[in-house]
Amino acid sequence: MNFDISEEQQLLQQSVERFVNENYDLATRRKLVDSPQGYSDDNWSQMAELGWLALPFDESDGGFGGNQIDTMIVMEQFGRGLVVEPYFANIVLGGGILKRSSNDELKTSLLPGIITGDVRLTLAHAEEQSRFDLDDVVTTAREDGDHYVLNGKKSMVPNAATATHVIVSARTGGGQRDKDGIALLLIDSGDLDGNHFPTVDGGRASELSLDNVRVPAERIIGDFNLLATAAHDAVLALSAEALGCMEVLYKSTVDYTQEREQFDHPLSDFQVVQHRMVDMFMEYEQCKSLLYRATLEAVQDAPTAARTSHALKHLIGKSASFIGENAVQLHGGMGMTEELAIGHYFKRLLVIESQFGNTDYHLTQFAD
């Protein structure tokens, strides 16, 4: 039993932490968020140079052979810094699917570009009627000789405007909610109509339309199982990011209430404020414990790993809401402004809540 990370992982953590400290003060971040692209190409190149884009891939593929613990380390620090580069869409989602794909040709052709940052992937799985159900797919992929012809709409696709390729889930057969008959296909971004827009946390997302898009059959990356695995990884990564956000929120609140005076006392003198912050701290620690558990189970491929990941996203959602709302509340009027960082962490947590299943969704998945 050992909860320490390895020396290599410690170096990784320090390196991401340093990157965040040097590049992510609030003013700099705001500029990125307000720019048309929404993130910095320089940062992205730096991430490539530091090897982070290669992190999860096998060493034989030019990667570093990292696992979900390594991703957790990176994402937690990204959460603490509110990093906006498309690491999640590109490396966790796209890279995660590609690395597990049995389509070796695609892998060979794409991985080098991913590692340099020139190829940028994202995943388009959600549809208006699907809400959080991965298997609720009405976008069709009709077989036509050695091609598939895709028709449908995909929703809230992260960072699609800057992606070179989009992995789309589409139905080759079966009914609307059948797991069988779902394929993942790789599509060039140019073949898609997109409505691109910002998200409330300063990120970017798109609504995509597929209008008789022809895709060669060799562009099939995987099936529903691969999508489910990607979602599992996504939950772990987003939860790690959320943990980073929550740590900043509860600690800033502890700091702020000690500085801020009201009724002739620092706010932190009030017992009700203290107990609220103790509750925030406890929620944070409980999330951390469950993140470790879920991540370790995933690395060890434990039979309970998927179920524990549902538990995790549920707890993260509940705690993020509690910590976020109380951080705003205890910051008073200041918590309501764009000026202070805490509002931005709060908004990032709100978006994480809507990604890959919300609190209620994962409770149901866990309980069933």
Partner: protein
């Protein structure tokens, strides 16, 4: 014990409905003109433009039941935009503590909605502890004017206001509630600088107001020097009760149900999801209860009693309910609640997130919930704290 309306009440309700129907804005009409017209017509009904004003100042003299009917009927009607600062906050203070000259000078414009007011109470560093304000007002040696310098914050609609009613400190030697003076200050003058504060939802409604060496004639002082806190305090508690917004929440909850019914889940809708349905039901139950808490408070007022202990609950419960509705709206929006500034997916998702973010302020302003509980502990449960 009975909650039935009397035949007169039914008649009144019909009259209100007819009036509101007749005076809805016609499509294509000029909004500003219609707005001023609306208030004129409401005035002609005998004070319907100022329902809460006393009869001697032109109010309609309604019974609590009539007020309740008005609130219920108007919450779904599209009334013209109206701000509470002049009508609801300054006016009662003027009526109670203003001189005859001040009343004659300011009240008619307030009633006509031709002059906009903002409230200069909060200051940076004061928060819910309003009385610790620092904006300084120094009386000139000849006693003709004050020179005011300081900063006000969270000043709603300061950027649209013609005047500010403002708490200033004229004496800082005693306890902080003393030495506060109530001044009326024109906004459009040198020395007043309004800086927008952008809040979480991206909206601009509150501001920082820097006041630098602004001269205010003594005839713009309400009541006595040093007594400003006394004048403002009574209204604050009143304001808090008004913030409960229970009728609005009833409408908002109905909207939420409709929105959730528009979100499909397989062959059914989100309103059929047991967890979501339970949360909506619990909310509705709390609302059924707090609606009667408000009625009990109104009934107590009608029989001339002090508002009972139940009235102290209204702001706390009311704002909590508002936030729960807002939160469930975001939840109903699902993946689309993340989209910002563009209509994507479910139609309500965009305003849902804005409402939720903006609504976090509801438990902060007008006395944070934590402070409200301190007040209830002291005033209702009779507890002291050492």
């Amino acid at each position: 014990m009975e909650i039935d309306l009397s035949p007169e009440d039914f008649e009144f309700r019909q009259e209100v409905r007819d009036f509101l129907k007749e005076n809805t804005a016609k499509p294509g009409a000029d909004y500003s003109q219609w707005r001023l017209d609306y208030f004129k017509k409401a005035a002609a009904k005998g004070g319907w433009d100022v329902p809460k004003w006393p009869v001697e100042f032109g109010g309609p003299g309604w019974s609590p039941t009539q007020h309740y009917i008005w609130e219920q009927e108007t919450v779904t009607a599209s009334l013209p935009w109206d701000m509470p600062f002049g009508i609801g906050m300054l006016a009662p203070i003027l009526m109670n503590y203003g001189s005859k000259e001040q009343i004659d000078r300011f009240l008619p414009d307030i009633r006509e909605r031709s002059v906009n007011w903002c409230q200069g109470y909060s200051e940076p560093g004061a928060g819910s502890d309003l009385a610790s304000l620092k904006t300084k007002a120094v009386l000139s040696d000849d006693g003709t004017h004050y020179t005011v310098t300081g900063t006000k914050v969270w000043t709603t609609m300061a950027h649209m206001a013609d005047w500010m009613f403002c708490l200033t400190r004229t004496d800082d030697t005693g306890i902080k509630q003393e030495g506060i003076t109530f001044l009326l200050i024109p906004m459009k003058q040198d020395g007043i600088e309004v800086t927008p504060i952008i809040t979480l939802g991206g909206a601009h409604s509150v501001n920082m107001v820097h006041i630098t060496d602004v001269k205010v004639p003594v005839e713009n002082r309400i009541g006595e020097e040093g007594k400003g806190w006394t004048y403002a305090k009574g209204l604050l508690q009143h304001e808090r009760t008004g913030l409960a917004g229970i009728s609005r929440s009833i409408v908002a909850l109905e909207n939420l149900k409709r929105q959730a019914q528009s979100v499909s889940r397989g062959n059914r809708t989100l309103m059929d999801d047991p967890a979501f349905k339970s949360k909506v039901a619990e909310l509705e139950i709390d609302l059924l209860a707090v609606e009667f808490t408000e009625l009990r408070s109104l009934a107590a007022a009608a029989s001339g009693d002090d508002p009972g202990p139940e009235s102290s609950i209204l702001k706390l419960k009311g704002t909590e309910i508002q936030q729960r509705i807002q939160k469930l709206t975001v939840e109903a929006g699902g993946i689309y609640s993340a989209a910002w500034g563009v209509p994507v997916g479910h139609k309500f998702a965009r305003s849902g997130m804005q409402g939720y973010l903006g609504g976090r302020a509801n438990t902060i302003y007008g006395g944070a919930s934590e402070v409200q509980k301190d007040v209830i502990a002291k005033n209702v449960l009779g507890l002291k704290r050492s």
